[in-house]
């Protein structure tokens, strides 16, 4: 392979250096960039499916009563929307796709520590995704439990929950192996001069995320395995008729699934932390504070799981403790937000599409985070628990946060990977349409939730019609914006003008290799790092 790297004069970079012909050059490749793109295209595909299901949910809720589907179909639709969006899009989204594409280059490595394991993770992801798809069509019908698979219903329903449990297990395994690979890579493969305090913040966020993936994901593995055992073997560890306790399922589920929220959002914060300094032409303000806050979020986020269970029947003392711990997570999150704003202060701001998406991340994530405090406080939570306020809140955090960061990453790094630039004007317009659609859709949800509309029903009382119709119209605007964005960016990366090695003026290592990068990135000449990732002066950008 090193021979090929030596002849990397071709402008197609790693695209022109397949080990095997045709599709085998992709599905048998251990190159981190090829695996990253495999993830990327799978993830984008599942995102589109998830969006489609979301649009169907909104269409059903356009009017009270049965509009386009009955209750059973509705239950299956929102379950699938949740499972696909969470397990196939948001969790692997930024780490598996952009982490694989960019992280090894950012630390000056030729690849990840275990390239074959990396490919194996992708196969696990695809098998898990396949299982999830099969669960839609096989025997018992699509799962109808919601993505949380709460017992006792999930243990009793005749739908394909067992298959979905296997799917979650496989996806979890894939996530663990990616995390393990990334932690080892960041520890062992940093190039000369890439000290811990010179690691770009995106890679730092992946590092914190990878630890959560390693430490939390096994718990969901055993939880769904026990659910599987209860359904298949009748070993009812959560079944009260056999002495089990369904609340224990909720505890185990959230011991993973709350830290998983940070698996979803930390990489997004990393993307934003990388983008803001570049488009402000200023070094990141409070680099160390952002690093420490990533670790602090990973740590504190592991201690707050039971705030999903205030109404499940815990002792008041437990509610109080978990409520307090939940508030502490707001501190490192706020540290990040203030540091981003301080970075932009008095910077020379370039309003390019990546920054626009990053800015909408900051605004929407902040709203999502603050509404999270409403839910974290036990008293208000009991009022709005299981209402559309919760749905609005987590869409602000997940879509407004991680989703926007994913789009920001696409606009920031895809020109690097494909070597071609999209149309920036269309990208800006699509950002505007997405932003407007997003706000109409999810703010309506929050308001209707405060008014008392419960989540997970296909029907509602006529008083809620107006806001629901507004939300549905918002979903259409959002969809139009998404189509515009994807068409523009994909036309751009395949037919756009050459982007050049450093289209945005970044100072981290990925901008020093050609676009697209050659197979082993730096080849035989491992780079020597002499300055920080946002030191634009010494990088010769300013």
């Amino acid at each position: 392979m090193s021979d090929l790297t030596a002849t990397a004069g071709s402008d197609r970079g790693f695209f022109g250096e397949a080990k095997y012909p045709g599709i085998f050059g992709w599905i048998f490749s251990t190159d981190h960039k090829r695996i990253g793109l495999l993830y990327f295209w799978c993830i984008v595909t599942f995102f589109c499916v998830g969006v489609l299901l979301g649009l169907l949910i909104r269409l059903e809720l356009f009017a009270p009563g049965e509009t386009i589907m009955g209750p059973q179909t509705y239950n299956a639709t929102f379950t699938l929307h949740g499972v696909i969006m969470i397990f196939l899009f948001i969790i692997p989204g930024i780490p598996a796709a952009f982490g694989n594409l960019i992280m090894p280059i950012q630390i000056g490595a030729r690849d990840v520590a275990f390239p074959k394991l990396n490919l194996f993770s992708w196969y696990l992801y695809v098998s898990g995704a396949l299982m999830a798809v099969i669960s839609l069509f096989a025997g018992g019908g699509p799962p109808d439990t919601g993505w949380t698979f709460y017992v006792p219903f999930s243990a009793q329903t005749s739908t394909n929950v067992s298959l979905a449990a296997i799917a979650v297990f496989l996806l979890g395994f894939s996530s663990i192996l990616t995390g393990l690979n990334f932690v080892t890579t960041i520890h062992r493969l940093r190039t000369t001069g890439m000290t811990w305090m010179r690691i770009p913040l995106f890679t730092w966020s992946l590092y914190a995320t990878a630890w959560i993936q390693i430490l939390a994901t096994p718990v969901i593995g055993i939880t769904v395995a026990l659910l599987f055992a209860e359904r298949v073997l009748g070993a009812g560890l959560f079944d009260p008729t056999q002495g089990g306790d369904p609340i224990m399922f909720q505890h185990l589920f959230w011991i993973y699934s709350h830290p998983a929220v940070y698996i979803m959002v930390l990489p997004g914060m990393g993307v934003v932390s990388d983008i803001i300094p570049v488009f402000s032409r200023k070094p990141a303000f409070g680099y160390k504070a952002i690093v420490v806050s990533s670790i602090a979020i990973a740590f504190a986020g592991s201690l707050v799981w039971a705030h999903h269970m205030y109404t499940s029947g815990m002792s008041d003392l437990a509610v109080l403790i978990f409520s307090f711990l939940t508030f502490t997570v707001a501190i490192p999150s706020a540290i990040k937000v203030f540091n981003w704003l301080a970075t932009m202060y008095e910077g020379s701001i370039l309003l390019d599409p990546p920054l626009l998406f990053a800015l909408s991340f900051i605004l929407l994530f902040t709203i999502g985070g603050l509404t999270g405090l409403v839910l974290g406080a036990a008293a208000t939570d009991i009022h709005v628990h299981d209402t559309y306020f919760v749905v609005g809140h987590f869409h602000f955090v997940m879509f407004g946060g991680t989703g926007m960061a994913f789009f920001a990453a696409m606009h920031y790094w895809l020109p690097k990977i494909y070597g071609r630039m999209y149309d920036k004007t269309v990208a800006t317009v699509s950002w505007g349409v997405i932003f407007i659609g997003f706000c109409i859709l999810y703010i309506s949800m929050m308001v209707v939730g405060i008014e008392g509309m419960p989540r997970r029903y296909y029907d509602y009382v006529p008083e809620f019609t107006g806001l629901n119709q507004l939300a549905t119209v918002g979903s259409w605007i959002l969809a139009i914006g998404l189509i515009l964005m994807f068409v523009n960016i994909f036309r751009g990366i395949f037919n756009g003008d050459p982007a050049g090695a450093n289209p945005w003026g970044g100072a981290s290592l990925e901008w020093e290799v050609p676009s697209p990068p050659p197979t082993e990135n730096f080849g035989e000449d491992d780079p020597v790092v002499t300055h920080g990732p946002y030191d634009f002066k010494n990088a010769g950008i300013l």
């Binding site: 393990l180 939390a216 073997l233 008729t241």
Partner: protein, 201 residues
Amino acid sequence: MSGHIHKDYTGAKFGMWLFLFTEVLLFGGLFILYSVYLARYPKEFISAGKELNVWFGGGNTLVLLTSSLFVAVSITALRRGAKRLCLGLLGATIACAAIFMLNKFFEWSAKIHHGIYPGSEHLKEMKHGEIVFFNLYYLTTGLHGIHVVIGALVLTWAMFLIKRDRVNANDWVILENAGLYWHLVDLIWIFIFPLYYLILH
């Protein structure tokens, strides 16, 4: 990837240790359930625990501990170039794994013969705490059994590589990682044995 780069042994072992953490946490879920249910049903756990045969459990503990010794010595043997000794010791380890599983098979068969297995009518008539105990017992030892089988397969694969000299006195990290995995299987049993067979007597 490139020829001139030596394998990163520290990295390979680091990755393996991380993987072992995840295994500990996987079993951790079951141990959490054990502790919660033990606190809830202390008497039933004791009465159910008495039904387990401490000789089966104790015997298997000895077998696993011995097998761990074999693995540890086999790594040293390979590093000193004693390839045949290493293969012999690994064979002994795998034999121990087989004895363990056979023992487990007889133990489970006896229990199942008495109508005690997850979902059985007899089990459902027992006290709640006892049902939980046996469900936990089957799931925990079952998951551990799966790990014994996987560990034995990994060691077989390592033996194959040693035979082909692809793992040798100068390049032995695969055997060491396989050995680490086997020690984990051992370690988890060290916790399972007292929790289910001993602590309640």
